[in-house]
C-alpha cells in the first residue's frame, strides 16, 4: 500500500500545497494505477565465458533489434548482442571516452551514442562502431587527480559536467541532459553546434530549472521529456527548450523513454534509491506507462533483486512497447520484459517468481502492492 494512503493528513497537506503553491509544486504519487502484467525472460543476455556485466547503466536497441549495453566493468565497456541476447561483439574497447558509463542510445540511423559521466563526453559512433562525433571534451588528464568536492564552474556551451543522457528530434538536433554537475538541458544542431540551453550549473526546482536531469527523450513532434530526478518530477519542454508542463505524480523520474510509431507512449521509472533503506522497496521501483500528455495508463514492476523485479532500474528501451528492456544498476543485468502474448495467465502471487532457467519463463503479475 503506498505510503500516502496511510497518511491521510499528509495527503491533505500536500493537496493544499499543490493548490496554493505555484504550478511546479510537487504532488503525491498517482493512486489506483492499474498494474500491467508482464513476464521477464530468464537469462536473456548470454555472455561468453569469462565476460561479465557490471552495473548495467545503459541499454538500447537498433532497428534490427540488436541490443547495446553500456556497463561499468573493470573498465567501462560497450557490448552488442543479437535480438535473442547472444553476444556479438565489444565496441570501442579501450576508448579514451569510456571511463564511467551512464547511457547508451541508438538514433534513427542506427548510430550508437554513449554518454559517459566520467570523461564528460557524449560520443557518436556509426553502426560499425567507429567514432564520428565527440561532444564535450575530457578534462585535462595532465591536471592529474583533482578534488572531487569542488563546486561546479559556470556552465559552458561545449563543456559537460557529468552528463547523463542524449536524445534527438526528427530534424536530428541533439539534446543532452547535463547532469550531475550542471543542471541543464543543452540543444545542439545535428553537426554538434551549440544552439541553446535551459537550466544552468545551479540546481533549482522552479520553472527553467532542474535538480539532477537524469534522462531525456524526444517525441515525434520534437517535445522534450526530461527526468528531473531530484525534483521528483518529469519536465516537458518544447523544441526550443521552453518549459510546457510537469508530470509530478510519478515519483522520482530516473529515466524516460518514448516509444516510436504513430501512437507514442511515455515511460518513466520511479527507481528504488541506491542503498535500499528500510521502507524504500515498498514505495519505489515501479515503472509507469503514460500517454505523452501525462495520462497514466498503468504501472509495472517493483523493487526486488529477483528476476521480474528491479534493483535500481537505470534505463529503459521501449522501441517495442510489447518488449521493454530494463538495465539495472545494482543487479548488474538487463531484463527483457514481455507484455504480450503472456505465457501464463496472470495470477495474484507472491512477489517475484524465482528465476529458473529450466522453465520457459518466469511469469510475474502484480497487484499485491
Amino acid at each position: 500500500m503506498p505510503w500516502t494512503a496511510r497518511n491521510p493528513l499528509l495527503c491533505l497537506a500536500l493537496a493544499l500545497l499543490s493548490t496554493a503553491g505555484p504550478t511546479f509544486a510537487q504532488k503525491a504519487k498517482a493512486q489506483n494505477v492499474p498494474e500491467i502484467p508482464y513476464t521477464s525472460v530468464p537469462n536473456f543476455l548470454k555472455l561468453p565465458p569469462g565476460l561479465y556485466l557490471g552495473e548495467s547503466m545503459g541499454v538500447a536497441t537498433n532497428s534490427k533489434g540488436h541490443v547495446f549495453v553500456y556497463t561499468r566493468s573493470a573498465n567501462t565497456r560497450l557490448f552488442e548482442f543479437d535480438p535473442a541476447g547472444n553476444f556479438l561483439r565489444e565496441i570501442g574497447a579501450g576508448s579514451y571516452g569510456f571511463e564511467f558509463a551512464h547511457s547508451v542510445r541508438v538514433d534513427s540511423e542506427d548510430n550508437i551514442w554513449v554518454v559517459d559521466e566520467g570523461s564528460n563526453l557524449v560520443i557518436k559512433m556509426n553502426p560499425a562502431g567507429r567514432v564520428i562525433m565527440v561532444l564535450g571534451h575530457r578534462p585535462e588528464v595532465v591536471a592529474g587527480a583533482v578534488a572531487t568536492n569542488a563546486p561546479t564552474p559556470p556552465a559552458e556551451k561545449y563543456t559537460f559536467s557529468r552528463p547523463t543522457d542524449v536524445a534527438w528530434d526528427p530534424q536530428g538536433n541533439i539534446f543532452v541532459s547535463d547532469g550531475y554537475g550542471n543542471n541543464r538541458v543543452v540543444k545542439y544542431d545535428k553537426n554538434g553546434r551549440f544552439l541553446k540551453q535551459v537550466g544552468s550549473e545551479k540546481a533549482g526546482n522552479g520553472k527553467d530549472q532542474f535538480n539532477l536531469p537524469h534522462g531525456i527523450a524526444v517525441d515525434a513532434r520534437g517535445n522534450v521529456y526530461v527526468a528531473d530526478r531530484s525534483n521528483h518530477r518529469m519536465q516537458v519542454l518544447d523544441n526550443d527548450l521552453v518549459p510546457k508542463t510537469v508530470y509530478d505524480n510519478i515519483g522520482d523520474s530516473w529515466t524516460v523513454c518514448v516509444s516510436p510509431g504513430p501512437h507514442q507512449y511515455l515511460y518513466t521509472s520511479n527507481s528504488n534509491p541506491n542503498g535500499n533503506a528500510p521502507g524504500t522497496w515498498e514505495n519505489t521501483g515501479e515503472i509507469y506507462k503514460m500517454e505523452l500528455d501525462g495520462t497514466i495508463l498503468g504501472r509495472f514492476g517493483h523493487a526486488s533483486k529477483q528476476l521480474g523485479g528491479f534493483q535500481v532500474a537505470h534505463m529503459l528501451d521501449c522501441r517495442n512497447p510489447d518488449e521493454i528492456l530494463v538495465a539495472e544498476i545494482e543487479s548488474w543485468r538487463v531484463q527483457k520484459l514481455m507484455f504480450k502474448p503472456l505465457i501464463a495467465a496472470p495470477v495474484a502471487a507472491k512477489p517475484a517468481a524465482k528465476p529458473d532457467a529450466a522453465k520457459p519463463a518466469a511469469t510475474r503479475t502484480t497487484g499485491a502492492k
Binding site: F98, V131, V134, H137, V142, A143, G144, A145, V146, N191
Partner: protein, 353 residues
Amino acid sequence: MTNISRFALAVSLCAGIALVAQSSAPEISFTTNTEPLKFPSSITLGEAAGVATNSKGDVFVYTRTGHPTITIGTARPFAHGGSRLFRFDKLGTYVGEVGKDSYAFLVAQQVRIDPKDNIWTVDQMSSSVIKFDPSGRMLMILGRKSEAETVPAPPLGPARGGRGGGLPGAGAQSDIFNRPTDVAWDSTGNIYVADGLGNSRVAKFDPNGKFIKSWGSRGTANGLFTDVKGIAIDAKDNVYVADAGNKRIQVFDADGNYKSQIVNVGSPAAVCITPGAHQYLYTSNSNPVNDIDTGGEIYRTELDGTILGKFGKAGKLPKEFGTVNAIDCRGGSQLYVGELGNWRVQKLALGIK
C-alpha cells in the same frame, strides 16, 4: 570620455584591426579525407595529438587513447597509461604499435620524424621526449617522468612551472621539462625542445642529447614566451617558436638570438615548415577545446611571415577542425592534421601548386 571607456575603445579598435588583418588573407580551397588511416576494429582512436610522416610516407599517430590511471594503495600514487603510438604505411594500412606500454606515454602531445626517419615523441604529462629508431627501438630519452603524482594535484598554469629549478616559468637551465609540447632539429642534428606550457622556454641539446642551453621565460617581450606550443626549424637553421599566448611566432637563430616575429595568424598551436627549395610555413589558430565557435583556421605563409592564405574553421564536420594539435607538411600541399576535439586525423589536399 573616461579613461576606462577610452581604453575599451582602444582595445576594440585594436581587436578590429587584428580581425581585419586575419580575415584579409585569401581562402585556400581544399579537399579532405577524414579516414586516411585504417584502424583495426580493436583500436578506437582518441585525441589525435600528434601526426607525422617519414621519408617513405609511413604515418605515425601519437594519441591520447586508453585509460589514464593513477594507482591507489601504493606508497605514493603513480600514473600509468593513457597514450599510444600507432604506425601506418603510406596507404593508411595499420602496421603496428610503437612503444607499447611505455613508462612515459601518459598524455600524448606530439610526434615528429627527423631526417633519418627516427621517431620522436613528446609527452606533456611525463615531460619526456623519446627518440625511437625507424624500427621502433628506443634510442634516447630527454627529461624524466615525475616519480609519483600529488593528490589532489595543484592547479595547472604558470604557477606550477619552473620544475627543475628557478622561479615558475623562469626557464630552467636543465633537461627537466614541464609540460613540453614539441621537438625539432637543425641541420647539424642539434635538438630543440619546446618547453612548453609549464616552463616557457626553448631547450637546446647537442645531437647526443647533452644539454647545451635554454632561452626564454614567461613574458611578452621579444625573446619571452607565454605558452610555447610548437617549434619548427628551416633549412637555414632559423628556429620558429609558436608563442601561443602572445599570438605570434618568434623567429630565432640557432643560438637563440631573436630575429623577427610572424603575427596576424591568431594563436599558433601547431606549426610545420615544408621541405624543398622554397619552404613554406603552416600554423594553426586552433580553437580552444571548449569552443568550436571561434578560430580553427590554418594559415600558409612565407618564411618571412607574408600570409599567403588560410583555410578551414572550427567545427566537427569534414573540412572543419576540432582543436588542431599537429600538422604534417612533408607533402607540401598534402597535409595530415591531427585533432584533439574530433578524435581523428584528416588528410588534406590544398588547391595550390
